[in-house]
Symmetry: C2
DNA sequence: ATACGGAGTGAAAACGATTGCAAACGGGAG
DNA sequence: CTCCCGTTTGCAATCGTTTTCACTCCGTAT
């Protein structure tokens, strides 16, 4: 392993000079600096992250914290986006391991231990108490799709997206629209607000009997809601699902009852998964901009880091886009 | 931040003693050692990873390297499995960033820079030249579903799995079976071998005109193959797809032609994604044991690390399981 | 009683980088 | 030629651990 000292010897200068030459940020480096850099390159010098972190307390490393979300395509693409964003800005990404202590899982200690520069929290459930303990830790933190005291936040446009979806559905003539989701403490509860607003603006009555609770990406509770809907006297012409996964699954559940989509009933999902584009009829859904969210999150975080701040403030929202598929059909006015 | 020295002062001993007390591995620690540990705990002492790494050249940190696979449910659950396995054994997981140099992406340098203890490679494509440069780097490396000189390997039971699938299909009476996949340099080429073997053992003629090339998880090439199959004079009774994603997509493509699954044609996928269980008819497929593979990989790697070896040898295979769905129907003998 | 071996401890030297401080240097003005 | 001021450089300390080496202490064998 070639060290600063080796490069210094090769250049006939002191290690301090080499360090400065390599870290200098000026726009037009002097001949001497260029020479040192050239030699360092040639020798294959790479700084030692541990030594640097020890001295500076910085690691160019961001911790990422999530729970049980990897299987969701939306989240895994979000995480991939985080990685790309971090890479672009010269940071690495480390999974924050959950080392146990007496009372629960400890993330902060881990982050400190590794001298991480910041933390990104990706979590489907709101306000996990384990996460809450992060907020006071003096490390800049950005939370995705969640609101946490003292942390920066990046939201998907949950309310606005659902609103757009409702309008779209309304524009195709639907007046009896059911909503599945709105689970307390999940993003779908934010969307419920958008649903109400969209209904109000489109002159649709948001009938309480057509609003059903279900968890995000939980087919079980979702199909339960579907059952209730189908057992009602008056049936909706369109059902909005909490996520694409459940929505696609529902097509089969409906087919098993002899109900065709979209001929007999229209449906729409939420997320914008790849399968939705592939299938026939193509899924009508709202595509969350996971790449945009990821990049915003990393940007907020790295900005705060490079300003040397201990916390991140501010809220940003990434706008998604309506995906007009074929699962919502036009119905007679 | 509380350091070794602080603990030492509080205990009235030297830092060296504290270090030894905390790192001692003996089964029954002496009273004195227990006391030091107690004090350290109480003071909230956490070792500094950077200092430790600097001194020992170990980081309890494993690098993970992959390309463009995050969107695949199989891969993201594999990565989640890796994380869990690493966590279980006291390691963290860091994404290996791809810093560029003149000729391509450089992973090794990054791994060295962070003094990573080992590397796990997850990659759909065989023999990427970028990866190859890893092998000589003196870091223990385990490759998933791939064979690379000087690296440990964990395989999914590609051939055996496909063989089982073929037998299952044969046992339901199918004699005309088409195979899509077998792409050079991808895992599906291994499965092609299993296909031949399964056919041979089941007395099925593996007809070359029913073997079609397609990339893994590439609907485009897959549907092209499907077209060819459907245009043939004699049609197969069952089609085996390279992955569940394409297979599920194919159901729609078939439906668009008025072909029903499984009444008119039987199909099976490969991977075992969640959606397959949810849909109706439930997807017949072969579920790869991604958790098992991940755990094997981490175990091989951490074993080598703790033995202080510079490379990993050995090949392990994780056995998957046949998922008998409803997309392959029994046909008349 | 003396010598010896083992266990435990402390002092101090690393590991490889950054950085405050002071000295050396270089260029322009007088 | 000298002086002054701004820039560059080197020295040395430091970050928090681990680890070697020498030493002490104590129990046991001779």
């Amino acid at each position: 392993m070639v060290t600063l000292k080796d490069v210094a010897a090769a250049c006939g200068v002191s290690p301090a000079t080499v360090s400065r030459a390599l870290n200098a940020t000026g726009d037009n480096p002097s001949r001497h600096v260029r020479y040192i850099r050239h030699v360092a390159d040639n020798m294959g010098y790479r700084p030692n992250a541990a030594a640097r972190a020890l001295k500076t307390n910085r690691s160019d490393n961001i911790g990422i914290l999530y729970e049980d979300v990897m299987q969701h395509e939306y989240f895994s693409s979000l995480i991939e986006g985080l990685r790309l964003g971090a890479e672009k800005r010269g940071y690495d990404l480390t999974f924050l391991a959950r080392h146990f202590d007496g009372e629960g899982k400890v993330y902060v200690a881990e982050a400190e231990y590794r001298s991480l520069d910041g933390i990104i929290v990706v979590q489907a459930d709101y306000a996990s108490s384990r996460i809450l303990s992060l907020t006071g830790c003096g490390l800049p933190t950005v939370v995705v799709d969640n609101r946490l005291e003292g942390c920066g936040t990046v939201f998907s446009d949950n309310a606005a997206g659902m609103e757009k979806l409702v309008r779209h559905v309304a524009s195709l003539g639907h007046r009896r629209v059911a909503f599945i989701g709105g689970d307390e403490g999940s993003v779908t509860s934010l969307r419920l607000g958008g649903f109400y607003k969209g209904c109000a603006e489109s002159g649709i009555r948001a009938a309480p009997e057509w609003i059903f609770h279900a968890h995000y990406r939980d087919p079980q509770s979702c199909f339960g809601a579907l059952d209730s809907i189908l057992m009602g006297d008056v049936k909706p012409t369109c059902i909005l699902f909490p996520d694409d996964f459940c929505c696609i699954g529902a097509i089969s559940a409906l087919a098993a009852r002899g109900i065709r989509v979209p001929e007999d009933i229209s449906i729409a999902g939420y997320d914008g998964v790849e399968m939705g584009r592939l299938m026939k009829p193509a899924l009508t859904t709202y595509r969350q901009d996971s790449d945009g969210m990821a990049d915003l999150a990393i940007q907020m975080l790295t900005d705060a880091i490079s300003r040397g701040e201990q916390s991140v403030s501010g809220i940003a929202t990434a706008e998604g886009s309506l995906v007009e598929g074929e699962t919502v059909r036009m119905i007679g006015g």
